[in-house]
Amino acid sequence: MGMTMTQKILAAHAGLSSVEPGQLIEADLDLVLGNDITSPVAIREFEKMGINEVYDKAKVALVPDHFTPNKDIKAAEQCRFVREFAHKMEVENYFEVGEMGIEHCLLPERGLVVPGDLVIGADSHTCTYGALGAFSTGVGSTDMAAGMATGKCWFKVPSAIKFVLKGKPEGWVSGKDIILHIIGMIGVDGALYKSMEFVGDGLQHISMDGRFTMANMAIEAGAKNGIFMVDQKTIEYVEAHSKKPWAVFKPDDDAVYDEVYEIDLSKIRPTVAFPHLPDNTRTIDEVGDVEIDQVVIGSCTNGRIEDLRVAAKILAGRKVKKGVRVIVFPGTQKIYLDALNEGLIAQMVEAGAVVSTPTCGPCLGGHMGILAKGERAVATTNRNFVGRMGHTESEVYLASPAVAAASAVTGRITDPDTLLKAE
């Protein structure tokens, strides 16, 4: 029986010539990731195992990004605990404030993940690296601890859903709109336990930043991982960012899929997920009149340079609606610097936005922009669960950077085209 991309990567890392869905395997890990929330739990479990060193100092990455710069004393203690462990274990990929970024923006930028890799991370959005043709998936802290200790992890081999992308997205439509459209179509458990595999001619029209956004949100459909076919764009990205050896795994012609969806990208409209689930989607044409208090542009989903370019393009020369708070979070220090050098930061600040240091911040209701009771935010983040960004009676609407920026100007959820035409 033919294998999917994911199955091939899992087989190669388990030393097997083939695997099939449902099979339990133990596989070798190329990278184990943790952040300031999940690592403290993992480190305590690691210490209980009675093992004195991590399996490979170059293959562990610790990124304090959630409650950093330390939001309170407890967060500071958690970060110190992670820092001390990193130093003691001589972890090569520990990133302190000043060199850090949001983990899933940072690791690809640093060349730590390449095509064909098998990565686990104690963060659900670890699936982001599927954009590079790697198998990567979120796990909990105990799996992270076991991974750091042994360099191995057990997996149940997933079946897959294939998404054949065709056509070219129009206007402001981005990776965010495509993945929101897909989640709206299959639901928040539509890919539960499965891989989402993205292939087809339409891929050539989706940038690497757009692919990171799409793979990032595979978890919002319940998927084990999302993975993209490697093409010229992937190879250019990897050669520009990494010196690690890499391998391309293509699905077999006779690979078996649970379902196959053909998606015409030219038909997708800017899409918004209404509270309180990412599958509660509407096209921008169906949104109606939704007044907002806050706009958040950034996160591991949409904090990359292309996202900031789009937001700045719309905000440049315009003003944020009085009474609306706009908070921008570049994903990494490099993205921040690039945005500074390109003049994007100045354009956004002149429009009335504030620009923060990289942090997960308000995305998970941590700090730097929490919502009060009854407040509404448009966010380029990934989840709009009850209480996700603050009070349980606040609301989060998920959208692309273009829609978020246009909404910042009008104070209500807005199609960027409508904004531009009205002027």
Binding site: L24, I37, T38, P40, V41, R44, E45, K48, M49, G50, I51, H66, F67, K71, D72, K74, A75, Q78, G121, A122, D123, S124, T126, G138, V139, G140, S141, T142, D143, A145, A146, A149, T150, W154, V188, D189, L192, Y193, I219, G222, K224, L277, L364, G365, G366, R383, F385, V386, G387, R388, T392
Partner: protein
């Protein structure tokens, strides 16, 4: 291994943000986490939960973040078992890894209401609704998972293997 207790009943897509809101993740102390368990979906849960009680929910329980704090908070609150139609996959792994018993059984979920007294036998997968006098059968854990559960989690399991 058996569990017996009164049921807290929830619907589809109970996410990790409502199981343990991120604002409490500046600690990983199980007792502190348990004090806020289910707070954003059921503010009375913490007041009413007793050791041995059981959570029953519909589809996709534990969706969202990878925070192991979610099953830790549930376990530390005294819950002995979670039964759902399906679990989000990271939550499923985490629960097994920390030794919180969980079972997938759609029939049982449909036949259990809030407040019912339920007994679960993890070796056989048999779920009894003592209030209604009905019995259901879930698939029991595979052998390697039983070993992890018997060792009270993956860490002890690995330590035991290392000592062999």
């Amino acid at each position: 291994m058996k569990a017996k207790g009164r049921v807290f009943r929830y619907q589809n897509n109970v996410d990790t943000d409502v199981i343990i809101p991120a604002r409490y993740l500046n600690t990983s102390d199980p007792k502190e986490l348990a004090a806020h368990c289910m707070e954003d979906i059921d503010p009375d849960f913490v007041k009413n939960v007793k050791p041995g009680d059981i959570i029953v929910a519909d589809r996709n329980f534990g969706c969202g973040s990878s925070r192991e704090h979610a099953p830790i908070a549930i376990k530390a609150s005294g819950i002995s078992c979670v039964i759902a139609s399906t679990f989000a996959r990271i939550f499923y792994r985490n629960a097994i890894n920390i030794g919180l018993p969980i079972l997938e059984c759609e029939q049982a979920v449909k036949g259990i209401e809030a407040g019912d007294e339920v007994e679960v036998d993890f070796d056989t997968g048999v779920i009894k609704n003592l209030t209604k006098g009905t019995t259901f059968k879930a698939r029991p854990f595979p052998e390697f998972m039983k070993k992890i559960m018997a060792a009270d989690g993956l860490v002890n399991y690995i330590r035991a293997k290392a000592e062999e």
